[in-house]
């Protein structure tokens, strides 16, 4: 008899955690320990040889952190996952495992600023070159591919550009060149979008955002689909004996979770960006209510987008959940419906009439909305990128990053939508006063 297929609402609560074997504890225990005892010298040898599964040291694996890993893997429909100290760390674990000196990356332009820095500055220092392309053009991905390309990197839903990636089309470009598509799925969260379903090979998350959901805890997760053919000749690090882990051939030995094992044993073990067990526990508390929260984030954001679109002091609105958004068909194809309409998450951007000065006045007039640089909180968050996160760029660079002078980004929270609309309305009145 086939196994029952559990729904995401159930996986969000149960996946990865069964009652504790030792105590019967129903909720997840926090295993606050650096190290784990060996039963014998032979047991220790087996663990170090990866011949048996077990815990050695919490920089490599920890039973509380492992629950977060399995839960996100299950929610994404992936084979395995690796947690790390932040979303940036998750991205670094994926890319540093995948790439080496002389390799080339094709990445969507207008990525989250931290991702641009990692690719354009930090990986460039290691001799890994990135070509940034127009995320809206599948042809521009194809045109940038080289024989040395070893990864394609993009966001499923761009932050702050809110561009929607055609995942299947870009995956086809990557696969035609025998390389994996790596997708940052932070903004939709795994409840609204599963990039692996559309062909992505590796998914990364800042779990700090919607997964944790409460603005309390930094965490990141990398998920592997289990479907990429690592033995296609382009990834000797997956098929040859590992220099970083005494000769293990990761793909041969661990098969469809070999990439995650290699990221854990070669990359996380050495760079040390491990997630604290208490942080994993806090993020898991958040994940239990992820489906409920995402439904409310989507409903509130759609109401805010409609309100803004009809507001006389607003020049333009960018929310992929609006039917008039240019990527709305892609949203409908790739994202889970919420209340009968495609769920487009809680992030939107709009232009205040009056340009930069009006944008600054809007932010300063907000009473309920918090002025800070984060997204995916229970609280509604607001920021004016041109005067904050992107102020070091000139106007042309801001345009390239998808940041207009009058642009305000809102991460719509879980407050009563009427109260959010009230605050937006009074702040708009103040912005043009």
């Amino acid at each position: 008899m086939a196994d029952h297929r559990f729904q995401p609402e159930t996986l969000a609560i149960h996946a990865g955690q069964i009652p504790d074997a030792a105590t019967g504890a129903r909720a997840l225990p926090i295993y606050q320990t650096t190290s784990f005892v060996f039963d014998s010298a032979d047991h220790a040898a087996s663990l170090f040889n990866l011949q048996t599964f077990g815990n050695v040291y919490s920089r490599l694996s920890n039973p509380t952190v492992a629950v977060l890993e399995e839960r996100v893997a299950a929610l994404e429909g992936g084979r395995a996952a690796l947690a790390s100290a932040s979303g940036m760390a998750a991205e670094a674990m994926a890319l540093l495992t995948l790439l080496q000196q002389g390799d080339h990356v094709v990445a969507a332009g207008a990525l989250y600023g931290g991702s641009v820095s990692m690719l354009a500055v930090n990986l460039a220092k290691l001799g890994i070159e990135t070509t940034f392309v127009d995320a809206a053009s599948v042809d521009s991905f194809a045109a940038a591919m080289r024989p040395s390309t070893r990864a394609v990197f993009a966001e499923s839903l761009g932050n702050p550009s809110l561009h929607v990636l055609d995942i299947a089309a870009v995956a086809a470009v990557a696969h035609a060149h025998g390389v994996p598509l790596v997708v940052d799925n932070t903004v939709p969260s795994p409840f609204l979008c599963n990039p692996i379903r559309f062909g992505a090979d590796i998914v990364v998350h800042s779990a700090t955002k919607y997964l944790g959901g409460h603005g309390t805890t930094l965490a990141g997760v990398m998920v592997e689909s289990g479907r990429f053919p690592w033995d296609n000749g382009k990834f000797p690090g997956m098929t040859e004996p590992s220099k970083g882990y005494h000769g293990v051939k990761f793909f041969e030995t661990f098969g469809d979770f070999g990439f995650t094992m290699r990221a854990r044993m070669e990359t996380l073990r050495v760079y040390g960006a491990a997630l604290a067990p208490t942080s994993a526990w806090q993020v898991l508390q958040g994940i239990e209510t992820l489906p409920l929260r995402m439904e409310r984030h989507c409903a509130n954001a759609l109401a805010v987008a409609r309100f803004l679109a009809a507001h006389p002091r607003v020049g333009w609105v960018n929310y992929p959940g609006l039917p008039e958004h240019p990527d709305h068909d892609l949203v409908a194809r790739q994202m889970r419906p919420v209340n009968g309409t495609p769920g487009a998450s809680g992030l939107l951007a709009f232009g205040v009439k009056g340009g930069l000065a009006a944008g600054v006045r809007f932010i300063e007039a907000a009473q309920l909305m918090s002025h800070l640089a984060n997204i995916g909180d229970t609280r509604t968050l607001v920021i004016h990128p041109a005067s904050t996160t992107h102020r070091q760029l000139d106007e042309a660079q801001q345009q390239a990053a998808g940041v207009a002078q009058d642009m305000v980004r809102i991460s719509v929270g879980l407050e009563h939508v009427d109260d959010v609309l009230w605050d937006i309305d009074q702040a708009l009145a103040a912005s043009t006063a």
Partner: protein, 153 residues
Amino acid sequence: MADDIATLRRILRTSRTIAVVGLSAEWHRPSYFAAKYMQEHRYRIVPVNPRYDEILGERCHATLATIEIPIDIVDVFRRTEDVMPVAEQAIAVGAKCLWQQIGVKNEAAAALAARAGLDVVMDRCVKIEHARLFGGLNWAGVNTGVISARRPV
């Protein structure tokens, strides 16, 4: 074909002796990993490989036919096209399960064994399935698919 959690659990829980066909004596080979793991989890491993006299402290047999003790699982680390004779021997010695490892997918051999009343598993690793269903694989961040409100047993 045994492909669901309940059946795989039953096979692994009721089995004690595993004949590993094609077991390597090289410590870094997947067959050695799997056999060593199962041995550590209280299964009796019987190596089947004409190239060696002894592996993992157990006498090595050239074929299944010379093994003197009852065999529960015949675990096959051979190429797909070489599985049929192993399936025929497994039936002849009265094994209870023909288990083809990851990447080994001989449908005809599986069908033959199933008609003879054996449980058949294909394209799965005995070690990974044991760790998935009885604990351990979850520590490696792998999606086990196990959802349960009971303590692991």
